[in-house]
């Protein structure tokens, strides 16, 4: 059993590491080198791509835009979604189910279909070419997933805890803050990671709403390396590697809350 476990764990780790190495190697190669041998060692570890990506364009600016959009989107999605998740799991009767369905319905709509009407709306509100517009749309479209995940976990919080708090005269707000949120830390952290990835890599909405260089986000900037017939993969991957660094940091930061989850979980018993 142990052996099978190790084999599986290592096999999957290799499946991740090998392509990952290919990506990293690619950033040091020329296009010709990439196609002659994708896995081969680069001729030299020259950092030209890393330098030119910062020199040739305002990467710092794109980076900042991405950070702003992602942070605000994640925090507010989490806040609003956790409030809603709490409310729908606590509501009596069918109303909670109705609201839960209304929100989760949002996950099922393909983005391609409401993008034209959405563009019209955002434009009419004067929110194109603005980070605020992007954030508001981001929050709205990712809230359903967050509500879905969070309410799934909140449902499993024992009702007795809330009943006890109610008898002590706690308001819903207090119960949300002092029971639901602390006990949901692991799922909040998991959701936060989901949201980070979604917002950080999101291309569709920036493509739609942002055309001015000063508001571009990273994924949008990376598009310039994709040509009609020829894509500059070394530059593209350099961008991808640079762009993934903050995600690794966000992941490592949020990872701590899984550990916190154990303590919270043990409170229950």
């Amino acid at each position: 059993m142990k052996t099978i476990k190790y084999i599986l764990v290592i096999a999957f780790a290799l499946m991740v590491i090998i392509p990952l190495i290919a990506v990293i190697f690619t950033t040091f190669k020329s296009t010709a080198e990439v196609f002659s041998s994708i896995l081969g060692l680069p001729e030299s570890f020259r950092v030209d791509n890393y330098i030119s990506i910062f020199v040739d364009q305002p990467m710092a600016r794109y980076f900042m835009n991405s950070v702003i959009v992602t942070l605000f989107s994640v925090v507010f999605t989490l806040l609003f979604a956790s409030l809603i998740a709490y409310a729908v799991t606590r509501m009596f009767g069918w109303i909670g189910v109705v609201f839960f369905s209304l929100f989760t319905f949002g996950m099922m709509v393909p983005a391609q279909v409401n993008m034209i009407p959405l563009y019209q709306l955002v434009f009419d509100l004067g929110l194109t070419n603005s980070l605020l517009g992007l954030i508001l749309v981001n929050i709205s479209v990712t809230m359903p997933v967050a509500i879905f995940i969070l309410s799934g976990f909140m449902k499993s919080i024992p009702k007795s805890l809330f009943e006890a708090a109610r008898i002590d005269g706690g308001s819903e707000w207090q119960m949300y803050r002092k029971i639901a949120i602390p006990l949901s830390m692991p799922s909040l952290a998991a959701t936060a990671i989901f949201l980070f990835v979604m917002h950080w890599n999101d291309l569709l909405y920036p493509l739609l709403f942002i055309t001015k260089n000063e508001y571009k986000t990273l994924p949008l900037a990376l598009l310039e390396f994709q040509g009609e017939f020829a894509t500059n993969y070394p530059m593209l991957f350099t961008g991808v590697i640079i762009a993934s660094a903050p995600m690794v940091i966000a992941y490592l930061f949020l990872q701590r809350y899984f550990v916190a989850g154990i303590t919270a979980g043990s409170v229950k018993g």
């Binding site: 296009t31 605000f72 194109t128 603005s130 605020l132 055309t211 598009l223 017939f229």
Partner: protein
């Protein structure tokens, strides 16, 4: 711990709200001072560097105008860019593909009529027809592309081969290449291959340029000889081992590298791939040829060309004059020349001198009897896809008749 968290989250909320409001303020204040900024949108990521240069030159000549360039991959260009054109805020200068995209943008009334602009005279008149509709010049194509196989001149010389003038000779040529150990044709069947190679393959089987209009009118069918024969010839190439192994799983990049490494002798896409091959193998000497699928006497056409990357001015733009200035600037011989030479593309502008070897060696094709890319004349994208899929289908093993029949069924659903 709970209290601490609550404290922190309340604080963060406050800070973020304040930040958010601040953010809005920042956005609105920067709206000033961009009186002369025009937005230029296109899909050529390959051309970013040369456009950056041209734009700075333009801005120097016209200090009151700034050009904000946004590049989309061509797929996203079709979806998002089109959506954003409508309100006039984006794409004061934009680009369009010929064919169905031109038609739809025209129908929406987004093209400013350029017929009377002086810069139109900069172009070869017969090469800008793809930008015309309803008797107006709606857009000016800048690029001239030949969508026919690129071949390795060195290999051909070594084996004493000449581009063939009929189907028998073409097959014999492939056989010689195969026997000499080369892959005769690198065909990227998983992405652009079928859509590119179908053009020279069908040009003489269906010499009539209206064939796809007739198809949509129900007067022609994919089950007719012209298409079944084309599919049969695709199959013949594949069955005889003249296409690379597992062609359907090969993408354009992989096919390019097969040609660059001189494993394969021909690349069945188009002149646009020459620069990429050269970049990987600067020593290689390249030419263009087209398979003639009939006898020499029956062959009406020698090759395929496309005039594309059509520059246009947005009819809803508030800065039309500045936008036209920019199009006029790109149409100047000197600038078009710079564009052509730095991107290794032929252009439609008159009197341009090409300095790179692959451009000069292939510019004879400008005067040859080439036909406008038939695929772009398919008015419906579902039909286009059905046509392309039938090629993949015969390469996957179906009989030409059956593949044609299935495709025709989809055509009929779209009539």
């Amino acid at each position: 711990m709970i209290r601490k968290l609550a404290c922190v989250s309340t604080f963060a909320l406050g800070a973020l709200l304040a930040g958010c409001v601040g953010g809005t303020g920042g956005n609105s204040s920067s709206e000033n001072g961009e009186e002369g900024t025009i937005s230029f949108i296109h899909w050529r990521g390959e051309d970013k560097a040369v456009f950056d240069e041209l734009i700075s030159k333009f801005e120097e000549e016209n200090p009151s105008i700034n050009v904000d360039m946004t590049i989309y991959p061509s797929e996203q260009y079709q979806s998002t860019a089109q959506t954003t054109l409508r309100d006039g805020s984006t794409g004061d200068v934009f680009t369009s593909f010929p064919g169905s995209q031109l038609e739809i943008i025209n129908k929406a009334g987004l093209f400013e009529d350029l017929s009377d602009e002086a810069f139109i005279d900069q172009y070869e008149p017969q090469l800008i027809e793809s930008g015309q509709a309803d008797g107006k010049q709606l857009a000016v194509p800048l690029q001239l592309v030949f969508n026919q196989p690129v071949y390795n001149k060195g290999i051909f010389e070594e084996l004493g081969l000449e581009p063939a003038t009929n189907w028998e000779d073409f097959l014999a040529l492939c056989e010689t290449l195969k026997e000499a150990g080369y892959t005769p044709i690198a065909f990227p069947g998983s992405d652009i291959g079928p859509g590119q190679f179908m053009n020279p393959m069908m040009m003489n089987n269906a010499p009539n340029e209206d064939v796809f209009d007739q198809l949509m009118a129900g007067e022609a069918s994919l089950t007719d000889d012209w298409w079944v024969e084309t599919l049969a010839q695709f199959k013949e190439l594949n069955d005889k081992g003249y296409l690379n192994k597992d062609a359907l799983g090969t993408n354009h990049s992989a096919a390019i590298s097969q040609v660059a490494s001189e494993e394969a002798a021909m690349l069945a896409t188009g002149s646009h791939a020459m620069a990429s091959i050269k970049e990987m193998n600067p020593e290689i000497e390249l030419g263009l040829l087209a398979p003639i699928t009939t006898t020499e006497e029956e062959a009406k056409w020698e090759g395929i060309h496309t005039t594309t990357f059509m520059l246009a001015v947005n009819a809803n733009s508030e800065k039309k004059e500045a936008a036209k200035k920019f199009v006029a600037f790109l149409s100047e011989t000197e600038n078009a020349e710079q564009y052509a030479n730095e991107t290794s593309q032929h252009v439609t502008v008159k009197d341009v001198e090409y300095d790179s070897e692959e451009l000069t060696s292939t510019s004879e094709w400008i005067d040859r009897n080439t036909r406008f890319q038939p695929r772009f004349l398919i008015p419906n994208a579902d039909v286009e896809k059905a046509v392309i899929s039938s090629i993949q289908s015969v390469l996957g093993g179906k009989s030409p008749e059956e593949a044609a029949k299935e495709a025709q069924q989809i055509v009929e659903q779209n009539l």
